[in-house]
């Protein structure tokens, strides 16, 4: 198992970090989060053309960079650290991963190159308004027609669903239940019968959409009824990508706390010299390092197809979500009143942490999964 990054991976991280530092200062984040579109097309183009990030883990055969899941997670971590507003999580980490896991060879050749180049924004329409994260809860139906399928029902919490050119939707054959009869489908975002609405989200840096399907024509992605088999793995990969993003955000909260504690004076001393603050930072540091280790391990387990990957994925998601949330909370606390203001950047991270906490299943859900998946 790869426990640390190779020199090449460390180098790659630095390149990504430099790009983020340059393109995603919080002034930029604040501007973009106030828009409906939610990202900057020029930056997305640069990120695609200069760094090839949208195709990072897509094989070269499909127009991608041919790196692995570990590199994808490095990108997620750095984006989380910079709170980059861009449709990377949606298109690459979620949708491309789904296509790579479930699509036929022909579909991969057709769909992935444009995602890899950044030209196509894709989104994974999985979750529904019930808010459940297990595949069995899918209610959207896919009814076979002469030349494909039509989808009926609705999806919610679709990351960047409002701007996606391509939707990958999970639906079930009418009359089926549980994990049986689930399949993935692809359809253009602007298809007839598709009604999209931007949701008002707690975290304005991550756009969510509700999508209604009214006899929307769609193409089967991969094999019929295979969703029960492919989805758990897709969701695990997604959870680890999100955990990586959270780890990046948590690290930023730690750094911000320490920086402030070393600047701010009260009672004639730097507040960072008080044990109450020092020990809080030591605990944050411990938690952030543990969350990193969990996310890194899970990424390596995915890359190496280790048998404990499902357990590791749930472990990483639960750990990173709790850590990010706590770190953001403590960062506000260490900043005191100023940390609660709109002007201070901490709340941007706090809100991302809160939304990441529940997205793809909250820590309670993943803790339970962890134990159930554990091979003692």
């Amino acid at each position: 198992m790869q426990y640390t990054f190779s020199d090449e991976q460390e180098e790659f991280r630095l390149i990504v970090r430099r790009f983020m530092d340059d393109k995603s200062p919080t002034t930029e984040v604040r501007e973009l989060m106030a828009t409906d579109q939610g990202y900057d097309k020029t930056v997305w183009k640069q990120l695609s053309q200069e760094l090839g990030l949208p195709g990072i883990h897509i094989p070269e055969a499909y127009g991608g960079q041919g790196f692995g899941f570990i590199e994808l997670c490095i990108v997620m971590e750095e984006m989380g650290r910079a709170l980059l507003c861009a449709p990377f999580f949606s298109a690459t980490a979620l949708a491309a991963t789904a296509i790579m896991s479930a699509g036929t060879e022909e579909q991969k050749l057709t769909l992935l190159p444009d995602i890899a180049s950044g030209d196509t924004l894709a989104a994974l329409a999985y979750n529904e308004s019930s808010g459940h994260w297990d595949p069995a809860s899918t209610a959207l139906t896919a009814t076979p027609t002469d030349d494909g399928y039509v989808l009926n029902g609705a999806k919610s919490f679709v990351v960047d669903g409002h701007v996606a050119d391509l939707l990958i939707a999970v639906a079930r054959t009418p009359g089926t239940s549980g994990v049986y009869g689930l399949s993935l489908f692809s359809l253009p975002g602007n298809s007839g019968g598709v009604k999209r609405r931007l949701l008002q989200s707690l975290d304005p840096t991550r756009k969510l959409a509700q999508i209604e399907f009214d006899n929307a024509p769609a193409t089967l992605l991969g094999e019929s009824d295979a969703g029960g088999t492919t989805l758990p793995h897709i969701l695990d990969l997604a959870a680890v990508a999100l955990a990586s993003e959270s780890v990046g955000g948590a690290q930023k909260m730690l750094e911000s706390s320490i920086e402030y504690a070393q600047l701010r004076m009260q009672f004639g001393r730097l507040i960072g010299s008080f044990q109450a603050i020092k020990h809080k930072c030591a605990d944050m540091f411990l938690e952030v390092e543990l969350a990193k280790s969990a996310a890194y391990y899970a990424a390596a387990a995915a890359a190496e197809q280790a048998p404990d990957f499902p357990a590791a994925a749930s472990l990483a998601k639960a750990c990173a979500s709790d850590t990010y949330m706590k770190a953001a909370q403590e960062c506000i606390q260490i900043h005191g009143g100023i940390g609660f203001t709109w002007e201070n950047d901490t709340h941007l991270y706090f809100k991302r942490a809160k939304s990441s906490e529940v997205f793809l299943g909250d820590p309670n859900y993943h803790r339970d999964q962890l134990v159930l998946r554990w091979e003692n």
Binding site: L199, L208, F267
Partner: protein
Amino acid sequence: MTDTNTSAGGQAASEQEIRNEVRTWLEQNWDPNLSLLEWRKKLIDSGWGVPAWPKEWHGRGLTIGLGDAVDDELRKMGAVSVAKTGVRMLAAATILEHGTDMHKEKFLYQLLTGEDTWCQLFSEPGSGSDLAGLTTRADFDGENWILNGQKVWTTSAHHAKYGMVLARSNWDVPKHQGMTYFLIDMDQPGVEVRPLRQMNGHASFNEIFFTDAKIAPEFMVSKEGNGWKVAMTTLAHERRLADGIRSWGRGDKGTGRVYDEQKAEIATVMEPYKWYPQRAGRVDLLIERAKATGKYDDPTVRQAIAKVLIMAKAAEWTGRRVKAAHALGRQPGPEGSLGKLAGSQVARLAAQAHTLIAGADAMLTSEDGAMDGLISEILVSVPAESIAGGTDEIQRNIISERGLGMPKEPRTDVDRPFRDVPRNTVG
């Protein structure tokens, strides 16, 4: 002004006698169709508006207990009381204790009628937990005190007529000895008020910038360098204020001009406080929400709810225990200072439980969010609970040192001229 002597002249009247007297007076005078100002003037002039205040200053010199009995009679009658909202009662208490007769004459009456609103100007960006480290400067130019600096966390400053301000007048003495307390007219060119937006979107507080703001020397309270002591009086009343916010919010029920005007007054004053219940975590909603979402059937959700309930109820009972002991005339123990710390933990645990209950819906807000955004308002408001009014860390210092008698940390900032104490450089 009618000099309504309490029964039996100078002798102490019984609670029943007082209650009878005020009821009689109310029966004769209470009229919901007066304007709010007319009624309050009548009430203040009678001495029943602030019966525990001195006779010379709109009161009757009654004990606090008897004063409460009078208020109780007003409530029973549904009669509107004098203006008590906002921080005005902190100003009143400070002026009564430390102010000159001129201050009392000029400020108290309009404060009680509600015509003048007040704000408190203590905290600064560079001095939050360490209030005594403030750096707003007051320099005497031979004619006036000239104020320069910045204050923050000032509720209702945008409509306050006057402010209580604490500023540093002497930099060559230890920090607690160099501050002076002033009453400042907010309506002057050197005072700029800017709303300060919070992470939850509300703007309940203001930043105040003083640029050569003027204060005539007679508006100093107590003497130069005595500001810390005066401020202690103000702060001692602040906790009581926090308890009061809930009860003001209600107002009196009834129809008539006076009620309508009171409702409008309350709406204005309560505006900055409307997210306070959410800040405290809305424990009251947990079981209802769990049942509505079906999460009640999840034992791990019940555990989360139980943890909140245990803390919240035990804290509530602790408060009642303190009051009950106090009512029996016992010395209040240090347990009184625990409520704030418990409140922070309740709020944090409640937010966790609300998140667990909301699930994916926790990502949404406003009309798309659970309970039309009320739940998301809880989630983005609770972080303030452990900061506002003194951080948890400061509370733990107070509890351990004053409550448990534990030794203080060695300090390096109190025994030398403030000029030499390391401090933040603020804008």
